[in-house]
């Protein structure tokens, strides 16, 4: 407990017990507000978790009452059935693995390609730089959904990425992000010139400086970009379902998890509980990553300065 003193008429007055009482009330109110707010933000998720433990009839029976938020205590075995079926029968683990692999590749490429570009834009001067700066701002603003049809044609026809090569159609477009270039740019601008100058005096090349000096200093922004990439790859379902081929029997499927989920959810015979279980499973990795990387994201944005 901190020692708090007040200045009254120029004299320091220490806390007396009445003031402690007031403080305790304030703290209690604070925590109460926090709990109420937290429940407001959590209740749909609680609902999701509770439903994932129920069989179809238990779900229908509980619908509309407070029981919606309570797991099915009477039939706890259903929970294992639901999750087990989702993981094995519907084979979600395969799709999760796919998503992980795609995400890792995308993150590496993303950091390399956009990081390099951001570094060049932040630290180097070259003819045409102003054009690129303008282009960057412009491209951040333009909405991307409208480009899906032409993008499909470009990937499938011009580049001819078919069957297994379609994976490149997922990875390559995800490896370039004007927004990430922008983030890198902002962050690198805040790294003092002294680091570079010292390295140059030691005879390092530009590329060498990037890998040996700048990147190690950029953990927050790399973490931020990595998290964004992961979430982007993990949540994306429209684009993969458009360009990836369906797996034939016996072959390892190519679909990432959300795309597979949309198909699974419309399969005959799936129960609401199983749908919720699959949703919980897909939300967990993102949740874990967000929580773990929270510190870095906060740092990453803070240092970036966010000058728009």
């Amino acid at each position: 407990m901190r020692n708090k003193t007040f200045t009254v008429d120029g004299r320091e007055v220490a806390l007396n017990s009445r003031m402690t009482g007031k403080r305790i009330t304030k703290e209690v109110i604070y925590y109460l507000c926090g709990i109420v707010l937290s429940l407001l933000f959590l209740f749909p998720i609680i609902y999701m978790l509770a439903t994932s433990t129920k069989s179809e009839s238990a779900y229908a029976a509980g619908a509309g009452s407070l029981a919606m938020f309570l797991p099915d205590f009477a039939h706890l075995g259903t929970m294992f059935d639901n999750y087990g079926s989702v993981l094995t029968n519907y084979g979600i683990w395969k799709y999760a693995l796919n998503s992980f692999l795609y995400a890792v590749i995308v993150i590496v490429l993303n950091v390399l390609i956009n990081g390099l570009a951001g570094y060049v834009m932040a630290k180097m001067n070259f003819p045409g730089k102003r054009l690129f700066s303008a282009l960057i701002i412009f491209l951040i603003i333009v909405p991307v959904e409208t480009s899906i049809i032409p993008l499909y044609s470009i990937v499938k026809i011009m580049l001819g990425l078919k069957q297994t090569a379609s994976i490149l159609g997922i990875i390559l477009p995800a490896s370039i992000s004007i927004f990430n270039i922008f983030l890198f740019m902002q962050f690198f601008q805040s790294i003092p010139k002294e680091y570079e100058e010292a390295a140059r005096m030691d005879g390092a090349s530009t590329l060498g400086i990037f890998f040996k000096v700048i990147l190690p200093l950029s953990k927050p922004i790399v973490a931020t970009v990595a998290v964004f990439c992961f979430i982007g790859v993990w949540n994306d379902y429209l684009w993969p379902s458009m360009i990836l081929p369906q797996a034939s029997e016996g072959e390892w499927p190519l679909m990432p998890i959300q795309a597979a989920l949309t198909t699974i959810q419309s399969m005959e015979g799936i129960t609401t509980g199983e749908i919720m279980a699959s949703l919980v499973i897909t939300s967990i990795p993102i949740f874990v990553i967000y929580v773990a990387a929270q510190k870095y994201i906060v740092q990453g944005f803070g240092s970036a300065g966010l000058k728009m």
Binding site: G34, L37, F41, P44, I45, Y47, S205
Partner: protein, 323 residues
């Protein structure tokens, strides 16, 4: 397609080279070996990004731009004809006749005007609320952040159950405890958009809260101490220290939330379907392009929308620029 792409590429390359040369000439400096090498290094390091950006970002936008001037009907992709500004004329005609596009514009406007202040306000409030070094604050932060992790489609599905019109729907049964009649929240034009605004702000504010938190962490503590010495109370501290310190964070947030809000489509699509009281611009474009198969017309709408959003964004940047 490859042919036209190469032509576009050639145009860009030529334009860029021309600009670069002009830049060099203008600077009137002699082209030293050092500058050439550093410029070459810069270009090489930019090359992968430029290549990918050209292929996957710029090119689709340019094609979409091109389609806006054609009659591209999805089922006849080999029969595309140039029709000039006809699509744009149709756009204005549809607005004039108060058709679906008119409703889409109004609804999108309502949504943006509603969600931007609400979501940012909530985010700021929660960031300030959790800006304390007390035990348990981390748990609160995680709770407030939890909805962000859930994708928009799952959120829409969950809230559909909550807003169910039957008397056993979550919201209705809760309000029923106070004697209220069950209400069809999503079907009533007066409440539908409001519900969508609230649930969207609920879903997104956790993320902006994080960004505000980082902005708050960047405000130097001695500024607060100085204000405290001057006898400032909480509100004054906020006004003189916190708010100015958050300025650039705030500009970033308002621009990104605004652009995101303009593009809303999942919530109305999954919660009400294509109806006049909830249709939004993106949803309209999507339906026109994919369901009704008018890719040309839908691209024209997209072009207009981009220009409007871009203009507003530029105005925002200018207005909030630090003096």
């Amino acid at each position: 397609m490859t042919g036209s792409t190469l032509i576009i590429l050639a145009v860009f390359a030529a334009g860029f080279i021309g600009l670069a040369v002009w830049d060099i000439v203008r600077s009137k400096k002699k082209i030293q070996k050092y500058r050439l090498r550093s410029a070459a290094t810069a270009y090489l390091m930019l090359l992968p990004a430029v290549l990918l950006a050209f292929l996957f970002i710029l090119l689709p936008i340019l094609y979409s731009l091109g389609y806006a001037f054609t009659d591209y009907y999805l089922l006849t992709p080999n029969d595309i004809n140039f029709i000039g500004f006809d699509n744009f004329a149709s756009v204005f005609k549809e607005i004039g006749e108060k058709g679906t596009l008119y409703h889409a514009i109004i609804n999108t406007l309502i949504f943006v005007v509603g969600v931007v202040p609400l979501q940012i306000g909530m985010a700021l409030g929660l960031a300030l609320f959790t800006n304390r070094k007390v035990r348990g604050v981390k748990i609160f932060k995680v709770c407030f952040f939890a909805p962000v992790v859930i994708s928009l489609s799952v959120t829409s599905f969950l809230w559909l159950q909550i807003l169910s019109p039957s008397e056993t729907g979550l919201l209705n049964s809760f309000l029923g405890l106070f004697g209220a009649e069950p209400h069809d929240w999503l079907r009533d034009p007066k409440t539908a958009m409001l519900c969508i605004i609230i649930l969207s702000a609920w879903q997104g504010c956790g993320f902006q809260m994080l960004i505000f938190t980082s902005g708050l962490a960047n405000i130097r503590n001695d500024l607060y101490e100085a204000a405290a010495l001057d006898g400032a109370n909480a509100w004054q501290k906020f006004r003189t220290v916190t708010w100015p310190g958050l300025r650039s964070t705030f500009v970033y947030i308002i621009i990104t939330v605004f652009i995101g809000a303009c593009r809303i489509m999942t919530q109305p699509m999954l919660m009400t379907g294509y109806q006049d009281h909830t249709v939004t611009l993106s949803y309209y474009m999507y339906t026109q392009g994919y369901s009704y198969r008018w890719v040309g017309y839908s691209s024209a709408v997209a072009l207009i929308m981009t220009i409007v959003i871009g203009t507003i964004t530029l105005i925002q940047r200018r207005a909030f620029r630090e003096k």
